[in-house]
Symmetry: D2
Amino acid sequence: MEKIRASIIGGSGYTGGELIRLLLFHPNVELCEITSESLVGKYIYKAHPNLRKSTNLKFSSLSEIENCDVLFLCMPHGQSQKSIETYKQKAGKIIDLAADFRLKDLAEYEKWYGHSNSNPTALSEFVYGIPELHRDEMKSSDFVSSAGCNATVSILSMYPFYKEGLVDTERTVIEVKVGTSEGGNKYSASSHHPERSGSLRSYMPLQHRHSAEIVQELSFDEKISVNFSATSVDMVRGVLATIHLFTNEKLNDKDVWKLYRKYYYDEPFIRIVKEREGIYRYPEPKLLIGSNYCDVGFAVDDTSNRIVLIGAIDNLMKGAAGQAVQAFNIINGLEETTGLTFPGFHPI
Amino acid sequence: MEKIRASIIGGSGYTGGELIRLLLFHPNVELCEITSESLVGKYIYKAHPNLRKSTNLKFSSLSEIENCDVLFLCMPHGQSQKSIETYKQKAGKIIDLAADFRLKDLAEYEKWYGHSNSNPTALSEFVYGIPELHRDEMKSSDFVSSAGCNATVSILSMYPFYKEGLVDTERTVIEVKVGTSEGGNKYSASSHHPERSGSLRSYMPLQHRHSAEIVQELSFDEKISVNFSATSVDMVRGVLATIHLFTNEKLNDKDVWKLYRKYYYDEPFIRIVKEREGIYRYPEPKLLIGSNYCDVGFAVDDTSNRIVLIGAIDNLMKGAAGQAVQAFNIINGLEETTGLTFPGFHPI
Amino acid sequence: MEKIRASIIGGSGYTGGELIRLLLFHPNVELCEITSESLVGKYIYKAHPNLRKSTNLKFSSLSEIENCDVLFLCMPHGQSQKSIETYKQKAGKIIDLAADFRLKDLAEYEKWYGHSNSNPTALSEFVYGIPELHRDEMKSSDFVSSAGCNATVSILSMYPFYKEGLVDTERTVIEVKVGTSEGGNKYSASSHHPERSGSLRSYMPLQHRHSAEIVQELSFDEKISVNFSATSVDMVRGVLATIHLFTNEKLNDKDVWKLYRKYYYDEPFIRIVKEREGIYRYPEPKLLIGSNYCDVGFAVDDTSNRIVLIGAIDNLMKGAAGQAVQAFNIINGLEETTGLTFPGFHPI
Amino acid sequence: MEKIRASIIGGSGYTGGELIRLLLFHPNVELCEITSESLVGKYIYKAHPNLRKSTNLKFSSLSEIENCDVLFLCMPHGQSQKSIETYKQKAGKIIDLAADFRLKDLAEYEKWYGHSNSNPTALSEFVYGIPELHRDEMKSSDFVSSAGCNATVSILSMYPFYKEGLVDTERTVIEVKVGTSEGGNKYSASSHHPERSGSLRSYMPLQHRHSAEIVQELSFDEKISVNFSATSVDMVRGVLATIHLFTNEKLNDKDVWKLYRKYYYDEPFIRIVKEREGIYRYPEPKLLIGSNYCDVGFAVDDTSNRIVLIGAIDNLMKGAAGQAVQAFNIINGLEETTGLTFPGFHPI
């Protein structure tokens, strides 16, 4: 089979680096060009030191990029909507990893990103990038807007409950613990090691842009609301979502097992983790570093209608580059798990 | 002024060690004896290596302990209720750091600790050990039951709201992040460094013994309930409580400032932390290591009646030994802050 | 091509787990059996939680193991020498990951392991398992004794210098920093998270069993000696060796570059890391987690004959399971890098 | 006794913050002014969040500073030599925490700091700030130049050996492991949490400015040389020095105990740490956080003349602010340990 020619616009950041790593080792991909205006002409490993000896590619400039089959966009939010038409002329299929085409509600986009979406037409062409929810749409689409990391883990943990209409929709509390790679590679006083090491920091105590994605994807009969909060911990990769969900009727362990299995038994990248004993009884992000899995687990409160859902992902993988490659596989008719079977490490 | 003679029953654990450190440097205390059956005759620094050169005391046996003014009990839960009468003969004042005399409701005690309290009479003599709530009772008491760490930080964060009857009492969600010293010095597979390093572990997703203390202390007109969850992070000392509290009526920032100030302005060990800018805008446990402060902060959700409260303590200090010494100062008529003014480190 | 049937004796530990992971995803391997006497009948993922959903294999008992093509031995030191003849009847090729057949000098073995080697005959059949030094011998051998982790990184860093006779052989100081996975999965007071977190612990200030391997492999004309020291740091995986090597004659940067390139330019798993600028100017183990690379770097002291060599590996990969699979590939006539091309993560 | 009036020039950095903390709680000090040109008029706790509620002082400007008894200088290297005469008019006693007056050899200063010392006259008035070596000189001096952190721990570990002429002076190898607070509060790409977390980075493989201090203080009969190397680890505070020292004649454990005791038995801030069993057999920086102790330990190599010395300090305390206050106590005729008795924490 001929290889699919792929290029990356904006490949110097953390998500870009992870995407390069995945595509370099993807059996059906020829990675053609990776742009970075600030690093033009420099070896890829200057920005991504793990890739030393894995590739001799150098960063190229956006202005010189050639046509290819698939274009990945890894630019800061707000860029891709401006020049999407140009990119469409370069490649027939586009996967955007920024937030530009995630929110279908223009008012919501403006509220969270501080400016109106300049390209509502393109917006309608993009499929929201969680394959477990939108696999069929992806199969017949050429444009995918990759989902936010906190949104992905929250949505996948809760989806079966909301989809089945089981939730008391105003009470849900989502407590997300995130690592520092989520903030990208731009350094600041707050990311200075002596200040960030050992930190347990309420950086988004009330809300997060990603909560708009959660609301969009989990609103079925009515528009739901969620009580979100994000705390940064001393960890580089990974997100753990602890979700307090209140059901309309009392469910027990068996009910929840059945529900999760109904939705996720055949999913290649979702694992239900709930053990009676041992160390790893619930999902934990450290086991997922570099993996595309989303692990979900739960505990049912006997004294109320509360269920605590616990979801974990690697924010750079299932929360970004991995999920983008999963979508890439789907829109190109490849086996969905191609290049993504890495199971994580233990111990780590 | 003559020094107060104090001894410690069960001084080989983490709480015991912290208490020794505090009492060694307390200007009004003569630390007499510290018992440990397994370490009798060994230098204190063998168990608490930080205290090398600070004391030449050795561990003694419970059987040989002499009379003193104040006895601190640092034994595993369930021990002190059995032998409290013996201890009363040794000292006129007793501060128990275990859970034996915390819960006034015998049914609750049995539910959480798996056995009935064998000494309900003694129970009634003990004041629950959070000075900010029970200072006056302490002043006229000789017996204090020190509060649990997760309970302390949760109660102090929420107290003004519940006391004033502002809370929709069924909706509160308490998400506590704890360090590994909370589990004590007994090692296990789960505390093995390669398994625990980098962990973000839902070890108590639904409930915790300490939630019974929270219910006890915050139930005023009616018995409340709380939705508790505890996650262990890769940190040794410290607790961070992120609390989603829903008020009956909409409050704004000013209201909450006013409320906290009303209750805590004069409190020597509570700081309200809420900054508009900078790195440390909300409480963070790493700044509190070794300190007796409880830092509280908050964020008001504009879109609902939710207020997110953020509380932080050092579990071995304000959550255990420090708070015990604070109570010690009160029941002995000393300045409440004596020996407890350490403000924490930065950076750390 | 038919798959090579491989089994693992003793697969419940950290090295065993890593080996399982590698073999499960090795394109030319059929992983048949994995023994663990304490976990017989349990799923592999109970010991290696990262492998959930990657395999349905269960642990089997040593007594039931069937014949296969290659047997990997991952038992505690001292076991394989006793029963090697039995294993030879099970498989034609054997790779031992313990220390039993590493030291050719029986007196050295006895000195470091406290008992005499009970099988000197088998010893002579085993090739010492660093392919970069013994590739040709491996090609004509069926038995490989995998090298120690600290030995591997030290030997590979220094090999060109000793091989060329450039070293003042009594002066070399080797300072190795190791993570906690090196100690295996057996927990103890010393590995208890509150004690080990943040530690910087001189656990082997003077010597280590692995130094005997270094001496064996780097003694050419005369028996050398090394001044070894190992410090444990708060990290799970990885070894960093900082080596102070004194040359007989003054070398400069160019000389060392030339020397390293002569020996390692064609080596698939060795990277020379020495940058003039940027963050990662020298080898660093965090970039190597899960990778089979050994990164080597250097700095030449202008004021003396000292060269500081800096080597890094993942102790469970190039220091154990990865190097074993590398040897496996060689003795089976496969491409040496098969199943081992993972380049590590960034950031992590 | 009347309090000593002290002020700090340049108090916004990490060393300045630690000094403020110490002086605020020093029983004989009235902390008058703390300057910071960038933070004039702001509360101290804006830069040092641990000090919230400990002081109401605000940063003042250098231009407004009033006369006092003792002036602490915490400015970047190279500043104090320019304006020392001005400061002398402000205060009779000066303690400089920068490097300006540490190196007595002008050529050495120029070599390491890239410019000539502009004030050789003042240089001769300053005593090098390690009390254990220069206590008597300090007693009759008004000017102290506080020592570098890596220098302090290295010098104190080795001093008895060099002083007694026991060392083969060309062979010493000093391997220092440092935390990230040593680099100050200026953030950069290299200190960005995702890049620095988990790092084990050879940032100074060959030499360090502090090695010039080591040479100065340990050269008795002849000028010695040392083979230095510094590695940064994932830790905020603390330095661990692992020193390979070769003696002219073979020493045994007893000899070294005797030697250390001769020099350090009466030293209030030096502890000899060498245990046969237990977790903390050698010095470890995590036990010293916030403490002014320098812990020293050793291991004697039976097979050679090598002794491995292990020294640990908190770089901001015994390596900076703590040692400065120790000197302050001496030059003011106070008990040397005043305000410095904190023994560190366990666990931490």
